[in-house]
């Protein structure tokens, strides 16, 4: 059973007299499978947020069917296992981060101890523990966004719906969110993100649907959509001039044309991350969000400290950006099994969700 299933969903916004005004989503069908990261990609106004709001029951489809975790999105019970980050932070400005997360934790019927523990872990994970006694109203956009992300994860959801999760975040935060998404996916959670930051989508999504004016223009796995089977790239360390000349001659012979040569460039994201990391080491203080590493412990599988997933964050930070996550079918199957175990643990009575 897919986690989200949309069949010929159409949304027409009407004016006061119920005359059709905008056809924001136009007969889209797709499904999000368990454990995958699914991206909705599209330019501004292409219907991404509208689709997500329908999946959350905030808007009702004009036509077509939607099922979330096998239920209608308007059913209250389905929502206990869903986390949602809206496109903007709609938080209560007079609450502190602690109070905010405690409030949403109560709505999920978590007990006091769980709320306290999760709040602390989430704030630490998102680098906001030093701001926990300030009110959210005075937060910068990116800081508020982090609180938004924290409230979406407070119930340790099975399905996480993120509407432009990286908007308003600094490159460090973007990177962190992307890593977080990958980590959550490895833990068996299903993630649905929307974005128009192509690089973000490419980095994290297993499959994407590209929306334009409310219709799906292309859909498939990132790998299959982007792979250019007519070209190859060969990478090797810088060589002495003589060896290089020999190699090039061999290529020239084989190809019959001159091959393209350039030095690989670090991308700006990686460069930025290195600069900030250096500054932090040098002891710079910031009143904003602090750079952090790691994931809130309750989102992990505590019984398996050697879990490769746990080391994912540092690893990912060291790897060149833009490298798609590679996984053999065996590794994927193992990850899915793990995820299932985790799911069972979460669903055990008394786990609070």
């Amino acid at each position: 059973m897919p986690v989200v299933e949309a069949r010929a969903v159409t949304k027409v916004f009407r004016d006061f007299w119920r005359r059709p005004k905008v056809r924001a989503v136009d007969g889209i069908s797709f499904e999000v499978r368990r454990g995958e990261v699914f991206g909705l990609l599209g330019p501004n106004g292409s219907g991404k947020s509208t689709t997500l709001k329908m999946i959350l029951g905030l808007l009702h489809p004009t036509r077509g069917q939607l099922a979330v975790l096998g239920r209608s999105p308007r059913e209250v019970r389905a929502k206990a296992r869903v986390g949602y980050l809206p496109e903007e932070s709609y938080l209560y400005p007079y609450l502190t981060p602690d109070e905010t997360l405690d409030f949403y934790g109560r709505l999920f019927d978590l007990n006091a101890q769980e709320r306290k523990q999760r709040t602390a872990q989430l704030l630490e994970m998102l680098g906001l523990q030093h701001a926990r006694h300030r009110t959210v109203g005075e937060f910068s956009k990116g800081m508020a966004r982090r609180i938004g992300l924290a409230q979406a994860l407070i119930n340790d959801p099975d399905l996480v719906v993120l509407d432009e999760p990286t908007s308003g975040l600094d490159p460090l935060g973007c990177r962190q969110v992307k890593d977080l998404i990958l980590t959550l996916a490895k833990r068996g959670k299903t993630i649905l993100v929307s974005s128009h930051q192509l690089a973000d989508v490419e980095d994290v999504c297993d499959r994407v649907a590209i929306l334009y004016s409310g219709r799906i223009q292309a859909m498939g796995s990132v790998q299959s959509l982007l792979e250019d089977t007519h070209q190859c790239r060969v990478t090797f360390p810088d060589l002495p001039a003589a060896s290089m000349a020999r190699l090039l001659a061999a290529f020239r012979d084989a190809l019959g044309t001159e091959p393209g040569i350039e030095h690989p460039r670090r991308d700006l994201e990686q460069f930025f991350l290195d600069v900030v990391e250096k500054a932090r080491r040098a002891g710079g203080e910031s009143s904003g969000a602090a750079p952090t590493q790691g994931v809130a412990a309750y989102l992990k599988t505590p019984a398996r400290p050697e879990d490769a997933l746990q080391q994912l964050l540092p690893q990912a930070a060291a790897a060149p950006a833009g490298a798609p996550p590679t996984a053999t079918p065996e590794a994927q199957a193992a990850a899915l099994r793990e995820a299932d175990e985790k799911l069972q643990q979460l669903l055990k009575p008394g786990s609070g969700t």
């Binding site: 916004f13 709001k53 959350l56 029951g57 905030l58 808007l59 009702h60 308007r74 209250v76 019970r77 929502k79 206990a80 869903v82 949602y84 809206p86 903007e88 709609y90 938080l91 209560y92 007079y94 609450l95 109070e99 409030f103 949403y104 109560r106 709505l107 999920f108 019927d109 409230q151 119930n155």
Partner: protein, 458 residues
């Protein structure tokens, strides 16, 4: 239940941290302390208690009602407007839980504020009438007549219906019914005549009323009998009469002579000791005037027995509980309105309803008190066509819906020492909270279920 509490606490927190509420509280405190200082009473102790309990607390109620309408309408409407609702309804929170949380938050806040106002008022009352502040007569009056809780017992009505019916049939038989009057008006006139007849005491004659007393007054030290003579009697001389009060089951009787002008309200104190024990009292008035004067007791407000049945403080508490029920009802109405409409529209609708509420009560009382109006109403409607028929039908519909909601102003009652029984509190709670607020909850839940909460509101 955890979600309901979370939302209720959030509303409280919003209130405490918002400047509007702080401003409101300052107005309340200023009012509660300032009104008794600035408003001049008629100089009597009873007048002072009236100002303090009825007007000062009434002012607090008024401010609280306005604030409740505003806060209640905003509770859901502004969450929708500011899109904070997106994060609420995507959590496992039902419409009913959301409504209940908001309502509970408002009710708790109202109760707290009202309790503070009531405590301050009571403190002022006690402080300004503390020992040494009043002369002996006033102190006695305060304890015996003002800070009391007395039931208002009307006498058993005289059975005039039968007499009127017979008279009507007799006239009809003889063909003497006036042809220029509708039958209802004739009946009404005959009824009034019969009432006057039974309330008139001829010179040397007697008239006896029966009062069924509540069991609670068994050990009351004294009763008070209030009576009015028909004001049309413009006699310049004093009226003399003799009252005899006795228990229906027999026993000691108590005799009191009366000698006063006809106008105004009169009262006499009947010692309770002579009449201790439950049961009914028979009150007899003998006309002993020498001048051959017939006396007419007012047919509507002729006689009332005031019977002490409890302490003032518990009465005060009951009055506050009834007031609190009203605030809770208005909170429910406002929250539901806010779930249906955007903020200004919701506030407008609630104020419209409240205005209709009070005018319907006024029209109802006009219609019932003015006997002539009642008699003339169907006639008037018949001659002026469908529009006024529709209007009066509308108002009668309102009456059916609204009259059960109306009750006497509890603060006025407690200020005049009138007893408010627990069943009245329970009845108010049942109709205003359980039934009406429950229905309003259902309306809001249906609306929230239908509404697309992510749509922008204008």
């Amino acid at each position: 239940m955890r979600s309901v509490w979370a939302i209720a606490l959030l509303s409280l927190r919003t209130a405490v941290r918002s400047r509007v509420v702080i401003g409101l509280l300052s107005i309340l405190v200023l009012g509660v302390i300032g009104i008794p200082l600035t408003v001049k009473s008629d100089g009597t102790l009873a007048g002072y208690v009236q100002i303090l309990v009825r007007y000062t607390l009434g002012f607090a109620m008024g401010v609280l009602l306005l604030a409740t309408v505003w806060a209640g309408c905003a509770a859901v409407a502004s969450e929708i407007q500011r899109k904070q609702i997106h994060l609420l309804v995507t959590k496992p929170v039902s419409g009913a839980q959301l409504w209940l949380g908001k309502w509970l938050g408002l009710v708790i806040l109202n109760t707290l504020v009202l309790a503070v106002c009531a405590l301050v008022t009571y403190g002022l009352l006690r402080w300004n009438t503390r020992a040494g502040q009043l002369n002996a007569a006033d102190a006695q009056k305060l304890a015996g007549e003002i800070m009391v809780a007395r039931a208002r017992v009307p006498p058993a009505p005289f059975a005039v219906e039968q007499r009127v019916k017979e008279r009507f049939a007799e006239l009809q038989q003889r063909g003497e019914l006036p042809t220029n009057m509708p039958p209802t008006a004739i009946y009404q006139a005959l009824f009034t005549a019969a009432q006057v007849e039974t309330h008139t005491v001829a010179p040397g004659g007697k008239i006896t009323w029966r009062f069924a007393l509540p069991a609670a007054c068994e050990r009351a030290p004294a009763f008070q009998l209030r009576y009015n003579l028909a004001a049309a009697l413009q006699a310049p001389l004093n009226i003399r009469g003799r009252w005899v009060v006795r228990r229906e089951r027999g026993g000691e009787a108590c005799e009191i002579a009366a000698d006063h002008p006809a106008q105004g309200q009169h009262s006499l104190t009947v010692p309770g000791t002579a009449l201790a024990g439950e049961g009914a009292l028979l009150v007899e008035y003998a006309n002993v005037n020498q001048e051959g004067l017939s006396l007419l007791f007012d047919t509507q407000t002729g006689l009332t027995m005031l019977v002490p049945v409890g302490g003032w403080l518990s009465n005060y508490l009951r009055a506050l509980l009834i007031s609190d029920c009203l605030l809770a009802l208005v909170a429910a109405l406002s929250i539901t309105a806010g779930s249906l409409f955007s903020l200004p529209v919701a506030a407008f609708v609630v104020f419209q309803l409240l205005i209709m509420f009070s005018t319907a009560g006024m029209i109802h009382s006009l219609a019932t008190r003015e006997a002539g109006f009642v008699a003339a109403l169907p006639d008037m409607v018949r001659t002026t066509g469908w529009l006024s028929e529709a209007v009066s039908g509308f108002y009668r519909g309102l009456e059916v819906l609204i009259m059960p909601m109306q009750n006497d102003d509890p603060l006025a009652m407690v200020a005049t020492g009138e007893w408010i029984a627990w069943p009245v509190v329970a009845w108010t709670f049942a109709k205003q909270i359980v039934v009406t607020s429950g229905l309003l909850l259902l309306v809001a839940v249906a609306a929230l279920r239908r509404r697309e909460l992510a749509l922008p509101t204008e």
